[in-house]
Symmetry: C2
Subunit: 363 residues, 2 copies
Amino acid sequence: VPPEWRIYARSASDDKAPVIAVLAAIDALRAANIPLSVNLKFFFEGEEEAGSTHLPAILEKYADRLKGDVWLLCDGPVHQTRRMQVYFGARGITDLEMTVYGPARPLHSGHYGNWAPNPAVVLANLLAGMRGPDGRIRIAGFYDDMRPLTDTEKRAVAEAPDVDAQLKNELGLAWTEGDGKSVTEQIMLPALNVRGIRAGNVGATAQNAISTEASASIDFRLVPNQTPEKVRQRVENHLRQQGFHIVSKTPDMETRRQHPRVIKLEWGAGYPPARTSMELPLSRAVVRLIEDALGAPIVKMPTLGGSVPMYLFLDVLKTPVIGVPIANHDNNQHGANENIRIQNLWDGIEIFAVLLAGLGRAF
Amino acid sequence: VPPEWRIYARSASDDKAPVIAVLAAIDALRAANIPLSVNLKFFFEGEEEAGSTHLPAILEKYADRLKGDVWLLCDGPVHQTRRMQVYFGARGITDLEMTVYGPARPLHSGHYGNWAPNPAVVLANLLAGMRGPDGRIRIAGFYDDMRPLTDTEKRAVAEAPDVDAQLKNELGLAWTEGDGKSVTEQIMLPALNVRGIRAGNVGATAQNAISTEASASIDFRLVPNQTPEKVRQRVENHLRQQGFHIVSKTPDMETRRQHPRVIKLEWGAGYPPARTSMELPLSRAVVRLIEDALGAPIVKMPTLGGSVPMYLFLDVLKTPVIGVPIANHDNNQHGANENIRIQNLWDGIEIFAVLLAGLGRAF
C-alpha cells in the first residue's frame, strides 16, 4: 500500500489508529522475539469526546492498579510538516456564557435610541475591555498565575518548524494576533476566545430596535499554573470593577430595576492545564528513542494548543504524562471523510514498538 | 361611546385615524356653516411603510400643484401622558451592515486561539471604539455637523412632561444612557444604535472555534444639519484610521491575504433630518390654536426621535412642515390588536376643525 494512501472511516484517525498501531507493535515484537522492556498497562477511555465525566472518579478508584512510571497518551496529531512530535502538556480549558440586559421589551430605536441602554453596545464594550484584537487579555492579573517557560521549553518552541507563512496563505490572513509571534509561541500563552456573540438581528432581518439582551460565549485556554477557579475569580473581579452585578439566573424585573448593569454568568466546569518537565530522564529517553528510530529530529511541544485532561495523570495520579501522537494533522478529525494516512500508521507502529522495547532500559 | 373605548382594526391608528378625523372635521364645519380659513390640499401617501420610494419623484413632478404655506403631517402619536403634541422635525436615518473577517475556514480555538485573528473580538473592539455604553459616539467629528438647539427649542424640551421614571420602571432599567439626561433631551442628539451582532455561536450551539466572520447592523439617527453622506464619510474615515481596508463585496482570498483588516460595508440609502423653526408665525399659530381649543398647554417637540422624511417638504419643496398627530401612543402600531382610542379620535376631529377654520386668520 503506498504510504500516501489513506484509510477513510469514522474515527479512523481519532482514535482508532493508535489503538491498532500499539496492538500491531506488540504483535511485531512477539513475531521478532523482542521482549518488552517495560511492564505495560492499557487504559482505553471511551468517553473522551463526551467530556470524560467518569474519568476522574475511575482514576481515583483504581489509583493503585494504575500506578506506573509514565503515561503515554496517543491522542492528537503529528506536526503539520508531517514530522513526528511529542507533547509534554496541554492547555486547560474553561468556558463562559455571559448575558447582559437592556429594556424589558424591544424598543423603537428612533423613539428611545440614545436613552434606553443598548445591550449589544454594553457587550461590545465589555468584550473590548476583556481582550484586544492583538489577543492580549486585559483582565487585571490574568497573566500573574503563569509559570514561565524553562530554557529547555523555550528552546523547543524556537526549534519547532515555522508553519506560519503557509498557514497564513492557506487561511487568507495578512496578520495574526500576538504582534507577529509564531503560532507555537502563542499557544504557550493563555487565550480568551470569543466563540460567538448574539444580539438583535443583522442583515435582511435587522430591525430598528434596541434589543432586550445580548450574549457572548467564551472559551479560555489555560497554561500552568492557571486554574479554572482562579480564572473565574479574576473575570468576576474584573466585571465587578466595571460595575456589573453578577447573577446566575435570568434576572427578574426587581433585580433589573435595582442594578444598573446586570450580567448573567454561566460557567462550564473545565479543567486545569498540565505540563510534564522535559528535563526528566524519562522525557529525554522518549525523545531520544523516537529520534534514533526515525533517524531525524522530532518536534517537541512543551504544550499543545488544544486541551486534553493531562492534569488527571500528572496532578491527580502524580505520574508524568507524555503525548506520543501518530495521526496526520489533515485527518478531518470529527468531520466527514475522517482518515488516517498509511505512512502515519507505519510510523506509529514503529515508534510504539521502539518505546515498548527500549524505554525500560533507556532511563 | 365612552372615550376610553378603542376601535381595534388593522391600521386603525396608523394611519386611518387622521384620514377619518380630517374628513369628519370638514363635515362638521360644513354642518355648522363654518367656512374654511385656508385653501386645502390633501396628499395621501400609500407607500410610507414601504420606504416611500416614489415620493421624492412625485413631489418634484407636481411641485407646482403642491405649493402651499405649510404641510401638516398627521402621522405619529400624541405624548405618552396623553397630552396632545405637535412636532417640528424628525431625526433622519441611515443604516449600515458591517462584516469583518477571520480565517477562511473555522479553526480549532485550542490549536489556533491567540494566533489566528478572531473576528468577533475585532468587531467588539471596533464597535466599542465607535460608541460607548453611555450613548456617546466616539467617531471623530460626528457631532461637528450638529446645529445647536435655539432657546425656544431648549425651552420646549425642558417643558416636555417627564416620563423617564415611569419608563424606567416599566422597562426594568436602573440606568439610562446620556448620564441621566431625559429621553426628550437625548433624542435631540444623533444616535448610533447597534441593531444586532452575529458571530459564531453561543449557548448550547457554541463551539470551541474561531469563526470566519462577524457582522454588526447599525442604524444612525441624524439631527440637523447631519446628512447620510456626511455620516458615511465620517464613519469610513474612522474605519480607515483604525487600519481597516473597506470593501463593498465579500473579499476574495487575494484581498484577505493583502490587507490586515478587511471590512465589508453595506450602506442603506436613508434620508436627512429636518426641523421647522418653532419661531415662524405659522408655527406659533398652530400651537396657539390647538392650546386655545383644548384649554391646556400641549407638548411641543422640536424633533421626534423616530424618522419621517420631513426633509422632502422642508428642504425639497421649501415649505414648513409641522406634525399634528392624534393617535394614542399605546396603539400597538404595526402589531396585533392595533387600535385607536376614542378620545383621541374626538380630539383629532376637534383640532383639525380648529386649524382649518382658524389658521388662515391666525398668522
